[in-house]
């Protein structure tokens, strides 16, 4: 997966890396319709979208005049705290629009980035540099509350109540009782794990593979456990 060009003691390192990125498919050529739909979606989970790097898939609207409004659309996304990185699936006229809008272009459906915009690249690099490794929560996470650790681990130093939800791109650690839901590796990290001191979760999930309370063995209830993914599709819950 990782391809590194590296010299000893170099202050810079260039890496080609495969990453999971969110693709926003544009299915309507009207900026107003898109904006309205975006606002509606964001109401459901405002924190989930904050600073989220996205690729705009314009394949469905390739023939429309939307490319003329691309800079406006990109501005609109940034105002809503999305980070549009690049577009994909558009014709020649889209590439010029992408340059103007300051985003890159992914050629075809391949993962090889062909970044053409001058401002697109630094933006993407900046995003990587500002990723904080972990999120620490010291207050109890109560029923109805949701905490998402983007790009790293989530560490909770208080109880997590039934009906609360923890999400992390990396591992989840709970130094208290875990009664709610815990979803680690939500963007596909199959190596992510969940650790807790007192296990009573309603649901646990690693990289999309989940298990609900009914399926847990009695021996792990109330115990200190770790949850990890075995063979890619089996959740392993065992005492620490």
């Amino acid at each position: 997966m990782t391809q590194a060009t590296q010299k000893a003691n170099s202050p810079l390192e260039l890496k080609g890396r495969m990453m999971t990125l969110t693709v926003l498919r544009l299915l309507d050529p009207s900026v107003e319709v898109l904006a309205r739909e975006l606002d509606r979606r964001m109401q459901d989970a405002p924190d989930f979208f904050r600073h989220l790097p996205v690729i705009l898939d314009v394949e469905a609207v390739d023939d429309s005049d939307l490319h003329q409004d691309l800079p406006g659309l990109v501005g609109l996304l940034r105002a809503r705290e999305f980070l549009p990185v690049a577009i994909r699936g558009g014709g020649e006229q889209w590439n010029a629009a992408a340059r103007e809008a300051g985003v890159g272009v992914f050629s075809g459906g391949s993962e090889v980035p062909a970044v053409r915009g001058q401002t697109g690249r630094p933006r993407a690099v900046q995003e990587q540099a500002s990723v904080s490794p972990s999120t620490v929560v010291e207050q109890p996470v109560r029923s109805g509350q949701q905490v998402y650790a983007r790009g790293g681990d989530l560490i909770v130093l208080a109880p997590v109540s039934p009906g609360a939800e923890l999400l992390a791109d990396g591992n989840i650690h709970v130094y208290g009782s875990l009664q709610g839901r815990a979803l680690a590796g939500v963007r596909g990290d199959t190596g992510a794990r969940i650790f807790c001191q007192k296990f009573g979760a309603e649901l646990v999930s690693v990289a999309g593979t989940y298990s609900v309370s009914e399926q847990f063995e009695e021996s792990v209830r109330g115990a200190a456990v770790q949850v990890s993914l075995r063979d890619g599709d089996v959740l392993d819950i065992r005492p620490l």
Binding site: Q139, P140, V141, R142, S143, G144, Q145, A158, P159, S161, P162, G163, A164, S177, Q179
Partner: protein, 269 residues
């Protein structure tokens, strides 16, 4: 400046209004000027429990809409000096509680009072949010059963994120638990959650435990705050809770089955 105390729970029927009436009466009896405000617009009850339903002329919504002054709407309690009631409107709904209007009424009330007790409606909608928004302290009324405990947990989450104190980044609301309708026999039989169980889930300071008691219903029907029924178990439990609210240390009673004696062991930490 008055301390604003919200009585809240999420779930309905757990004893918010009974508690609001008892706390406000207890604070006034201890010599603190107290106003108790019914936020349950459309389902007005507090005036009944306080026994002043026949004296309501103007209500909270009239004052918000500036159709009456606060002094016209406040009802002075006949039994306890320094206590007044602001009734809710029965003919309106919660949308009548505007942000500015509520803020203005509470500000005006806080000039002449030491405590303002806000009786929150059930639920987590507008009325409840308005009642808790300005609070300095919260008393979360919970029954020892799972759905009440879960709703209380939800409300605690909202208190810590959607209150004015949270928005302004000030010291958080002081949250305390009042466990009501506690039946020691049923806890002993394992039918009901114990104080320890509830505290483990909610993890907040315990203000008091009020036993399940006929006295509460009798007092409500008679329009007397149960705290004034000094020879009843519930009345005494509320007196203890008010004393603790004011910083006094009191042992917890009514935790054990009656036969073992009225005075329970000193509870927990």
């Amino acid at each position: 400046m008055a301390r604003i105390v919200v009585i809240t729970s999420g779930k309905g029927g757990v004893g918010k209004t009974t508690t609001s009436a008892a706390l406000a009466t207890g604070l006034a009896k201890a010599g603190h000027r107290t106003a108790v405000v019914d936020f349950d617009v459309g389902l007005r009850n507090l005036d009944l429990v306080m026994g002043c339903e026949r004296r309501v002329v103007y209500d909270f919504v009239n004052v918000i809409n500036q159709e009456a002054t606060l002094n016209q709407a406040l009802i002075k309690d006949k039994r306890v000096p320094g206590l007044c009631i602001l009734a809710a409107s029965q003919t309106r709904d919660k949308d009548a509680l505007t942000d500015d209007g509520v803020a203005r009424v509470l500000k005006e009330l806080s000039e002449d009072n030491d405590f303002i007790v806000c009786d929150s409606p059930a639920g987590i909608e507008r009325g409840a949010l308005m009642a808790m928004y300005h609070a300095d302290e919260a008393i979360v009324v919970t029954n020892p059963e799972v759905s009440s405990v879960r709703d209380s947990d939800r409300v605690l989450g909202i208190l810590s994120s959607k209150s004015r104190r949270a928005e302004e980044g000030r010291e958080p609301i002081r949250e305390r638990l009042l466990l009501t309708r506690y039946a020691a026999e049923r806890v002993a039989q394992g039918d009901m959650l114990s104080v320890e169980d509830v505290q483990e889930i909610l993890g907040i300071e315990l203000l008091g435990v009020v036993p399940e008691s006929k006295a509460v219903l009798n007092a409500s029907n008679a329009g007397i705050p149960v705290i004034l029924e000094e020879d009843t178990d519930a009345g005494q439990a509320y007196q203890d809770a008010v004393a603790r609210f004011l910083g006094e240390e009191r042992p917890y009673r009514f935790l054990d089955v009656q036969k073992k004696g009225l005075f329970g062991r000193l509870f927990g930490s």
